[in-house]
Symmetry: C2
Subunit: 464 residues, 2 copies
């Protein structure tokens, strides 16, 4: 007889833990199953250690502003890489410990540390035990992609699974994949003294669909380390490392960071034993508003569904999956306005709808170049651009893309505004303090205002 | 015969220039009158040069984090004060030049560089010329207060009018007045090596009405330089400087910075020749929604009305005064949600209603201490607190106070949300990225949620 549970959650990462928080409100008869190392991707090998590395690199890089500010001694500053990596690992361990708090108090009936495999739509095999669940949530996360053709160079290839574990850094590195992870780590390593070459087969970075923002990001970051864009990287093992070629350029490097994306962890699940339908990419077909797979009793949340691989979206999806797993009728929930941030310098952020999703004939693009922004000039970070997209007919904000200082903060203001359906005119009535980077957003709003079909007499004021 | 104009604006600072922008839309028959140095208070002696000084000081102070991050050489870093002050002055000049752009293109009929004096409600005397105006806008700004009793020590007293002009800094300084200006400049000077003592007759800093935030701010900043609070500063001239006493403490300092507040520039205006009524503090009685003084044809905007001495409020008030000066009927305009920021470290910010304006029985206070905030820990800035005030019955946000990293950014999110009438529950549905400081706000919202009278099942999700 299989063990009977109300809900089985496969994966104790961020999405699984958020699902669990909902499930526990309704039932104690659940099981959380995880065959890998406990602690979330975010804390172990993702958001958190990368931010520590970036913080150290940015603090070290800041010495370049010292001369203009009258601060002496920049040339005496060095970074002790093993010390810096030790600091990254110390903080990483702190963050991992915190996420483990979520599973520490689960007993052996509730937490199974083994891999789960579907034997049918409602039954899992876990370490020889059969578990029949009324509802099952797949939240197995994702893993870094390494192309099969790179196998001969395996010993020189790192991913985010390994890089934060290093005690020392290589002297040279090709970072292949200029998405968020590649840009963040590539720039941080470059600032810490590694000879970095950034490579991507696309001519865009951080998935930017806006050519103006993309060009500025490439130009600004390309001044720190070479970016080879528009051709596939090819690796060739050498005695002293790896020869990495991209188009007609090549370089010999000690290590290669594969930052080509992450692949959903679906292979071990035995989905072939279920009625779950897969799309062309092999991802279960699910409803992003309910997280339900088809009309099954199986839900999917987090990186494993290959949609929005972001912690706060994993949180949202986990909550929705967990909620629906313990309620009689399946409810659809509004998605959050898209918000994506790359923590490089300048920050890159995208919010809401992007240019490739919009018809340029229908929108007004408000643009601000940061050179004249007072606070940015004071910070010595006045290379940047912010572009926002508004409905030309009524000024309603649709989306934004930016590469600029404090984009991480501006992007929140914009995402919250877009989620509420606000317009350019609405935002211009808000307080913008002085001198703050938010004034750049204000300038972009004015720029958009001039391009709208509507005209108001005094847009900043609201009559009582 | 007096010269006849539609509008006379007295004062070419921020408020006057924003008023001008409205006036010019309707008439070319205006005059802008300024007897002082052109260029706004903000750019010449306020927001802008202080932010440059703070930026240099903060960049220099950041060396204290180096050791924990594995960065070596902090002890070799010094600041060349004359170089640093030269940098402050260079950028200050850049910002002043920009504000001068607003008056550069005005000819001698439109811009009068002299002081204006009312001879009646509708007539001004300017450098011997009589100007009769249909509408008059007073926007003469404010000046630093120096107590009369300090006169014997005058040669040792500085205000913001002088401090940014210094070629070198004194070795010791008492900063009297721990409002925004005193805190910002006091901390910056301390970080640049000046032996600073901060003094205030109040036991609060930055006008904080929230005791929890006030205590943390005092404790954090008081670790950098002594704060003597709760007694009036008394000055006594000595051969080598000034002896500054406060309660039973005293210190000999080279200079004193008077940061006791700013007094409206009303004395020269000859208001006694008008029907304008003054309040107990000698400020014209006006309507903050229209900026009209009584039912006269005179308006008042900016620092001179002694209400919200902030650039963005001067902009708002200037616009309202300018609008009403050129429209037949007087319109009332909604005020912006209050937003005040002190750019010290940790930032101090207040938004909306403060504790002394609220009935604690009716509100839920959401509080987050920053120690556990991941990103703050990474930044090494995890000493902070954010408190937000919500209506206990329905969760509507009313105000907030905070002393924490990036308060300047969090305060914008909160001010925009309060201005829109949003609730704790509304905000918890917004995207909060990870790991960002905005997550501290999210935690404070959760804390408030638990104290509300209402309970929702899954507050983060919105059913479709």
């Amino acid at each position: 007889m299989p063990r009977e549970v109300d809900v089985a959650i496969i994966g104790a990462g961020s999405a699984g833990l958020f699902a669990l928080s909902q499930v526990r409100r309704k039932t104690d008869n659940y099981v959380l199953i995880d065959g890998g190392e406990l602690g979330t991707t975010c804390a172990r090998v993702g958001c958190m250690p990368s931010k520590v590395l970036i913080q150290v690199a940015d603090d070290f890089y800041r010495r370049n502003i010292f001369e203009r500010e009258g601060i002496e001694g920049a040339e005496s500053i060095n970074v002790d890489i093993p010390e810096a990596m030790g600091h990254v690992q110390d903080l990483r361990d702190t963050f991992v410990d915190r996420t483990l708090g979520a599973t520490d108090n689960l007993d052996d009936t509730h937490l199974l540390q083994a891999y789960a495999r579907f034997v049918s739509d409602d039954t899992l095999e876990v370490d020889g035990e059969m578990i029949r669940a009324k509802k099952i949530i797949i939240a197995t996360g994702s893993s870094p992609v390494i192309p099969a053709a790179w196998q001969p160079c395996a010993e020189h290839i790192l991913t985010t699974d390994e890089i934060f574990e290093l005690e020392d850094l290589p002297t040279s590195m090709a970072v292949v994949g200029m998405g968020s992870i590649g840009l963040e780590i590539g720039q941080a390593l470059s600032r810490l003294g590694v000879e970095v070459t950034g490579i991507d087969q696309l001519t865009t970075v951080a998935k930017l669909a806006d050519p103006v923002v993309n060009d500025l990001a490439i130009d600004a970051i390309g001044k720190e380390f070479p970016l080879w864009l528009g051709a596939t990287a090819e690796l060739e093992k050498q005695d002293a490392g790896v020869k990495v070629s991209c188009g007609d350029q090549s370089i010999l490097v000690e290590k290669v960071l594969a930052s080509l994306g992450r692949r959903p962890n679906l292979a071990r699940l035995g989905l072939e034993n279920t009625s779950v339908k897969l799309d062309a990419q092999g991802i279960p077909v699910y409803d992003p508003l309910t997280m339900q797979i088809g009309d099954s009793a199986i839900f999917i949340a987090g990186d494993v569904n290959a949609d929005r691989a972001l912690l706060h979206e994993a949180g949202h999806e986990g909550r929705v999956a967990g909620y629906n797993a313990v309620h009689e009728s399946i409810a659809a929930f509004k998605r959050k306005t898209f918000l994506g941030i790359t923590f490089c310098d300048p920050n890159i952020a995208t919010v809401g709808a992007q240019l490739d999703e919009l018809d340029e004939a229908d929108i007004a693009i408000g643009e601000i170049q940061f050179a004249p922004v007072g606070r940015a000039l004071i910070m010595g970070k006045n290379r940047g651009v912010l572009r926002l997209y508004a409905n030309k007919a009524d000024g309603k904000l649709l989306g934004a893309a930016m590469a600029c200082v404090k984009a991480e903060n501006l992007a929140h203001l914009l995402a919250w505004s877009i989620q509420q359906g606000l317009s350019v005119q609405d935002l211009l009535k808000m307080p913008f303090y002085h001198p703050v980077i938010e004034e750049a957003l204000q300038a972009a709003l004015y720029n958009a205002l001039g391009k709208l079909d509507i005209k108001e007499e005094v847009v900043e004021l609201e009559k009582l």
